[in-house]
Symmetry: C2
Subunit: 319 residues, 2 copies
């Protein structure tokens, strides 16, 4: 590499790291065919139109920011299998929505001598992977990048309520169905093994709110309170929080219900969407969505091989 | 009520409240046929042999401690249905393992104007119920009162590992089976709708650890690390914590797995056990276990009526 180009890259990486550090929206504008991880990350954040919030989790979790990007793999959760598939596909920048190392902040303190952690970290280092979390700013993009993916997979685009940009993709008016058939339809569309429901199966439903991930009880109940919401579709929540609340609401005769799609299935389509969205940002760069898949199975859905749901890499069609 | 007796009750209640407030193990010794709620609670805590820990959640969540106890209902979770069944059974002291008002500390701040909260609180007041949480000290009792109930329902008493008292009821060596059949057996014994498994269905299993409730990732992983544990049976945990960890461990070829029984099913038998245990403490007092039941259903287990699993009150046989 000529000295000047190398210097430009370093400088670019420097800007990118500043961006990551100080939440500035200034970003590296290069469209080099082989950006570094830091350059690529800066370009992604800039494209969201969002500003990195204070204490963002959208940081590099492992790897050298100066690594030239050979390809990008988007995923919901960088399991060992996702990492292996990325390596096999020649992709070394992993753009993940959720943590790599088993807690929200990817704090390794608890795992420093843990064999599972150590083997995963060694694999990342051995293959020169860079793992970057794309959580806050992908949600902050308008429309929310995760919600946009959910809308595509649910088939609810045409039922989306008009409303301010912040609500787009979160509120729907469906053709009348019952809670039971709504759950069955979601199970089918998301290939869900372990969807769980609180509420009266026979309850008539038209108005649905989507509260992805582990948004917390406050956000879930705020959505459930709305007059234009009868059912919330969520990721997960402890059993003594919104789950008990929804149960009591139903037992009091209120027409409210809760569908737990699981954290992964409630958000994973948003990372498939991410791979498609990244295409125009990185012309010439190989980009795939690698599903982590629903993390568990049930006695009714024993996988033929484990994990069965994660076999297909999805290479988005470039537009 | 004669003035003296009333004064004695008040004094007794005073001692009980002091006990709740200052973690003293001094307790009211009365065996009056109609103790107040405060007296009954003091008697229960004393019988555990445990000392209330600092910042214990074992406090009265609603109701007047001076209320004479007409009967005791134990439950895992005081849903509206559990409360109605207790009222129908003439039982006004509700001994619950988990919260009443939708968060760990039963803090009503978020719910003060909430219609579901207000209706539940009004119902409790209208029927002069006293709701007391029996969490910390029931776990601190030796053997752990929750684990003792789990052991009874799982049928694993004869497979319990010998070990220090703190481990009794938590470690088992079962006849060899597979992860799939272990999960099926638990599903059957606990009438579980939504049991979920992480791991290889064909994995051979003999060594099982039980980590009930939402014990947290640290405790769960500590158990999973043990050489004498291949599978942990837990309540619940966020998908990015122990669930991802167990998945990575399996993908690295380690013979480790995770069964999520759900928070309720992992602990509810411990409150059935509690009703039996309370018998000798309250001769002449009506005592029932009222199941809250698994809070959700699945497309494979749509209830005929909702909730179907909570119909049977269990009146323990007095020994």
């Amino acid at each position: 590499m000529p000295k000047l180009a190398f210097k430009a890259l370093l400088s670019c990486a420097g800007i990118a790291m500043m961006l990551l550090a100080d939440s500035s929206r200034a970003a590296c504008q290069t469209t080099s065919a082989t950006p570094t991880a830091a350059e690529a990350i800066a370009r992604i954040v800039q494209a969201t139109g969002a500003t990195l919030p204070p204490n963002t989790v959208d940081t590099i979790k492992a790897g050298d920011p100066a690594t030239p990007v050979t390809g990008i793999a988007t995923t919901f959760s960088p399991t060992m299998e996702v990492l292996r598939k990325a390596v096999a596909a020649g992709e070394n920048l992993i753009v993940t929505h959720e943590p790599t190392f088993y807690n929200h902040l990817d704090d390794p303190a608890m795992f420093i001598d843990d064999p599972v952690y150590k083997e995963k970290l060694a694999y990342i280092q051995q293959h020169h992977l860079v793992i970057w979390r794309f959580h806050d700013t992908w949600h902050m993009r308008r429309p929310d990048g995760i919600a946009e993916g959910f809308v595509a997979q649910s088939g609810w685009k045409k039922f989306q309520n008009p409303g301010p940009a912040g609500e787009q993709g979160f509120l729907f008016t469906l053709p009348e169905t019952t809670l039971q058939f709504l759950a069955l339809d979601l199970k089918r569309r998301f290939h869900a093994r372990a969807i769980r429901i609180v509420g009266d199966p026979a309850m008539k439903v038209t108005k649905v709110g989507y509260v992805p991930g582990a948004a917390g009880e406050a956000m879930q109940i705020k959505a459930l309170h709305r007059d234009d919401v009868q059912v919330i579709v969520v990721g997960e929540i402890p059993e003594w929080e919104t789950i008990l609340y929804a149960r009591d609401a139903q037992l009091q005769g209120r027409k409210k219900a809760l569908i737990l799609l699981g954290h992964t299935l409630s958000e994973e389509a948003g990372m498939d969407n991410c791979a498609t969205w990244l295409g125009p940002l990185f012309p010439g760069t190989k980009i795939d969505f690698i599903p982590a898949g629903e993390p568990y199975w049930t006695p009714e859905s024993v996988p033929a091989r484990v994990p069965a749901r994660t076999s297909a890499i999805h290479t988005p069609v470039r537009k």
